[in-house]
Symmetry: C2
Subunit: 456 residues, 2 copies
Amino acid sequence: MHDDLARSLGRLSELALAYAQLDDSDPVRPVLDPDHAVDSLGLALPALGMDIDSVLDRVARVLAATPSTSGPRFFNQLFAGRDPAAAVADMLASLANNSMYTYKVAGPMVLIENLLVREMGRLAGFEDAEGVFTPGGSLSNLAALLCARNAAVPHARDRGVDGRPLRVYSSADAHYSIRKGVGMLGMGRDNLVSIPCDAEGRMDPVALEAAVVADRATGLTPVMINATAGTTVQGAFDPLDALADVAERQGVWLHVDGAYGGTMLLSEPRRHLLAGLHRADSFTWDAHKMMGVPLVCSVILVRKRGLLTALLNESASYLFQGDTDLYNPGTRSLQCGRRNDVLKLWAAWQYHGLTGFAARVERQLLLANQLADRVAAAPDFSLLRRPASLNVCFELTGKPSDAICARLHELGLAMVGHATVNERCVIRTACVNPDLRAEDLEALLDAIREVGATLP
Amino acid sequence: MHDDLARSLGRLSELALAYAQLDDSDPVRPVLDPDHAVDSLGLALPALGMDIDSVLDRVARVLAATPSTSGPRFFNQLFAGRDPAAAVADMLASLANNSMYTYKVAGPMVLIENLLVREMGRLAGFEDAEGVFTPGGSLSNLAALLCARNAAVPHARDRGVDGRPLRVYSSADAHYSIRKGVGMLGMGRDNLVSIPCDAEGRMDPVALEAAVVADRATGLTPVMINATAGTTVQGAFDPLDALADVAERQGVWLHVDGAYGGTMLLSEPRRHLLAGLHRADSFTWDAHKMMGVPLVCSVILVRKRGLLTALLNESASYLFQGDTDLYNPGTRSLQCGRRNDVLKLWAAWQYHGLTGFAARVERQLLLANQLADRVAAAPDFSLLRRPASLNVCFELTGKPSDAICARLHELGLAMVGHATVNERCVIRTACVNPDLRAEDLEALLDAIREVGATLP
């Protein structure tokens, strides 16, 4: 082993422990002025190299100045926390550096991917799912759009999109990746139809069916219905069974974007939130959100085996040498070289087991409901509505939510985002960090009050 | 800090060192039968969890059974080796778990990405490049195809592809991701025109121009010329200046896929291999190949700032809150949540400096030439041709290359692939591991001879 490699790996535990300690001692890092931080942190790219210890010290310094996404004051995204098993497994996967295209170079990591695809497919009700891990929900959704486009226009892969309007239906509260994907795949964003939601943020099946019928009557081609299981802002679940009825009646591909909420499948008492999922054609599920493994870990599952391979396989005799397609996931991937994003999830599964995952989901739901209870009971707060899952949206009555979020960050009190719902700008929190305690939620509300008092 | 996290991070150095040691003691792991390895390695997903030490021991066991891509017997892909700075930096980036969409949650990591984009753009001759890191060269090439498509059909993003044939030109030796991307973006793989190569594997500019002219004469729309800097099999460099002449004359987008060979820009004496690159419209460059950082680390650069943002930005007020687009790379990314793939490259750059990278490229070229010399001098080997870069293709005279590669692997002697060039099946090696020594190359040739003697 190279001396410097022995040195850097030897320092790894010290560096990792010191870094993780910062979640407690410095949970919200000071806001850095981007115009000055390149100099103040010494980020410039040098012409001459330096010794390994100096590099590692610099890496530690930059990391210490980077926002913490795992500390108890981070409520800004739909991921948070640090899983003891997944974190270390992912670091070792990075060290091992296998590319996930072939069994020849990834070996048992392919078997792990296949096991996870099968089990996650089983939980979704896809008995013989085909699937592959992708670098994030946006790209999983892109793969689903690709499958749906080809189901409607079977020769699109070889002959191209032929110019007829290909319509995609998604709720007003759906994730922006659907819109981006429609633009990428040549269907045109003008052909993305925004379906209204009910008061709880769930897509309206009646409005959806009317839109599909109206389109078909005017000669447009319906391609895909995108349902969301766990919307970005409110954590709402579209009524999948009713949407599946529409999809079946109208003969349209049904995709379920469960990037966020798919994890509810792990909990027997919560699985009903996704009732009807087994009738969908494809499903996106991110393990780096509610399942708490490091970024990124997303899977695209299709109910009918072979569809991904049919759309993504290319012959490349310099790469695919021996072993069947089943063991060469490069044949069904958007990528060629691909990072190993499955070992971390496998390690977390060993650590928690399905029962442990279920208990964690329950605990996270309990936290979200505790927060909602506190907000509802406080005279100075206004709760948007009872949480559908882990998101709690609310206002400090009479104070601007966006300014509160900005000040919380500037003052180092918390990192939390805002969102607009029915023209109300609300504070959006997501209780996705399983290590959160009740006092962290209390501290968040206190901090919001403190900041609010300084605002007009 | 959670006790189990302290425990797992505390064991990290021990686990990492033990793993890296295997490169020396067990450089080619036994071939596992995929039908039995799930049981023999205990890979099943359990219902009940287990203690953290048991999980880590299992992770170590699986890794020990996974092919090594960094040892001295691995010649199978266009990546290899383990950089002491990049490896540890990437592991810490995984622990930190920042998503690269906004400055708010990624802070200095965004500044690092911007510095790398600017410097890599400068080296490419793109003075004001726009760029973003993607999960691999295939997706970087997809982003380039998207830009090119929109340059030819400006309203494609909103109105869709309109059915007119959109033609893409790429050499017969180009990477398969171009073909995959054309199929994805609605242009139709039948519209990918394969341009012949010269005897050295370089795209023929005269044949290219004839194809473009002929297409335009029949009413087809030329969209993109894909040139390759460092082909997958032979490591050949297309003549970029001559191709840029064609692109300019014909008014067609020129993309350069330098996923593999872009790294030659780091070496003053080798930069001429990419002469003319500054005239291209877009450029793919993977740092996880010749630059030796862990998978994946690819950048797509476009010469004209703003094009990526124009094609990939979506308004998402729940995500982009404050800071300008410059500091919110999510506005120009294919992804939403995105792993931090830049800290590893930044750390490697601190460790080596530009001069160190240049010296490493020279050393790798020297190794490739040494191997070619040995092969050329040996009466029982047949060299395909002098290496254009790090790839050396050859045969053991009279013996089937594919069978040799399979036997080398089965016997635990080396992992190396084969490829077909002009209907000859050759052994393809790539000297990308900077830690290779002359005796490793000697050992490879000896192993090939040993195996060849057992074959008819």
